[in-house]
Symmetry: C2
Subunit: 350 residues, 2 copies
Amino acid sequence: MRGRRPRLGARGPTVADVARLAGVSPMTVSRVINTETSVLPATRDKVRTAIATLGYVPNLAARSLAGGQQCRIALLHANPSAAYLSEFLMGSLAQASLIDAQLIVEQCDPLEPYQALVGRLSGHRVDAVLLPPPLCDDPALLAALEAAGLPVAQIATGRPAAFAHALTIDDEEAAHRMTTHLIGRGHRRIGFITGAANQTVSAARRAGYDRALADAGLPHDPRLVAQGDFTYRSGLLAATALLACVPRPTAIFASNDDMAAAAVAVAHRGHLDVPADLSVCGFDDSAMSRTIWPEITTVHQPIADMARQATALLAGTVRERSAAREASVRHVRVAFTIRHRASDGPPPLD
Amino acid sequence: MRGRRPRLGARGPTVADVARLAGVSPMTVSRVINTETSVLPATRDKVRTAIATLGYVPNLAARSLAGGQQCRIALLHANPSAAYLSEFLMGSLAQASLIDAQLIVEQCDPLEPYQALVGRLSGHRVDAVLLPPPLCDDPALLAALEAAGLPVAQIATGRPAAFAHALTIDDEEAAHRMTTHLIGRGHRRIGFITGAANQTVSAARRAGYDRALADAGLPHDPRLVAQGDFTYRSGLLAATALLACVPRPTAIFASNDDMAAAAVAVAHRGHLDVPADLSVCGFDDSAMSRTIWPEITTVHQPIADMARQATALLAGTVRERSAAREASVRHVRVAFTIRHRASDGPPPLD
DNA sequence: CTGAAAGCGCTTACAG
DNA sequence: CTGAAAGCGCTTACAG
């Protein structure tokens, strides 16, 4: 049983190799890798030199087997915007790889009962769930997840659940700032296109618009608010209605970029120049805002970063002792910025 | 050393548990899981029952540690289209999780020298590389990857390298079929917007357009071909030029959807109805084609499926004995379909 | 067709 | 601050 053939495949150096070269035990190498403090600087440096010399890279499989640190996070999505999903994925994927968590991406079928979905997640040994919009606002899904005892992170919700982590920007404040920016440019008649009624951020954005108008002492004309649902098509209808008002608004602030792009299209169709005859602003800083021409001034949400933080929070919760879990729920507000581009300017002189 | 405390964390059932319940050895359980043939049906069923009873799910970490089947695949991307990336990711992620490969997503900085990039990949223990457009067409990158001995899969290239796997649709044929479709509708003056000159699919799509015209015996008017580079902006310029021709084309076929969307915008700006006054077709079936209104008739590429297949091919190559690698390179052509939507119709009567 | 032994590369839980 | 031992859950390479 001794002269057994070595297993196939040249593998890289291991902790044992590093330990030998550095003249320490594998345990000490492990400590250095995991940046524990209780290692003498001299020892640490020897180990680091050996790691660099050998080009050692830890074996993730072995690490998670030994550490018992398995962590599978499901990303449940039903967002029609591929751009949003892709940016979200980049953030959560990077973080997952960093902390050695496994990310499971699951497209949510709206027809599947939530009980079945949650059952499937447990079957896949999912430890936690990432919930980007619009699922983050689904009460039935949240209830099912809470009942299953799964840690959850809601991203971009206007109404964080008590049991879940939440990562949001201040949508109300962002809309307020964008509207105030337009007012500062000289606009007095600013049209607003709302988001979908079933997403909590829609109301927040609308509230920011209302407050900015009030702060500036501008009259509130209900004809200047048109209902949208975040789709381009709804933006077309809403912008058409807004531009039919007399007198015409000199600016339109849409609750997302797809609808802002639609407003630009309607303006062009009516031979209005953007921004000379009409300023248009959007929300989200999605691909659409940079694709069309002119490029749209919009509110930038750090989607990738929010995904990254949400993933880190979930992994922390999973690896925590279960007792303290409820106490550690975090509602984090991240900073937004306004991206000034080419679609806004002063109102026409008329 | 005996009464040692068990490790923390309730773990699920293991092969040992299944083996005990089924009255077989762990080895046999492993065989059943890996669907080896040399297990008696009766034994297999006992094991399967035990698996179902216990709700056993294999531990991936242990499996890859023991099996030595580590496989890290890098997805190198520089594609400006988030929609493309996101769909690509869905496919490769699903396959990677299925075959227990690790996917590393790496944004390519065009300023970084390729030698450094390839060096970094080796440092991360990357075993293979997925190359979607436009990187799939970069000769310097391909050369560096080949020199490093890394298996590569090119996706959607018009010119597959001899050493690499390639997954493509027949772009020439797809463009031919779309053009022929327009001709079948009655169009005789069909404008064409080309793709970027440095991507190999651009020439293929152009060739398909040319061939369809020739097949139908239509004259080849060089003014009906406008140079684009796949951006919306270039589509705006190209469509403006095409619509200035006298007589005006009754249809425009753009080499991607962003440019087709731009053509729709230019038409609307000129008060032309789409499709009553002008038919517009695109290529790729990207999010843009379904976002704008009217929705665009386009060529559907199964991007997720191509990514899935490419990932599977690479994993196969990595796990192969190195000797046979070169012999196993595969150039696969997958089927495309035409998605008929609302942007095309017969030419106007006059 | 089935099984006993060894080992994958790392970390936990102790002990000193 | 450092190390020797055991074990994570599975598969490989044999042997029967």
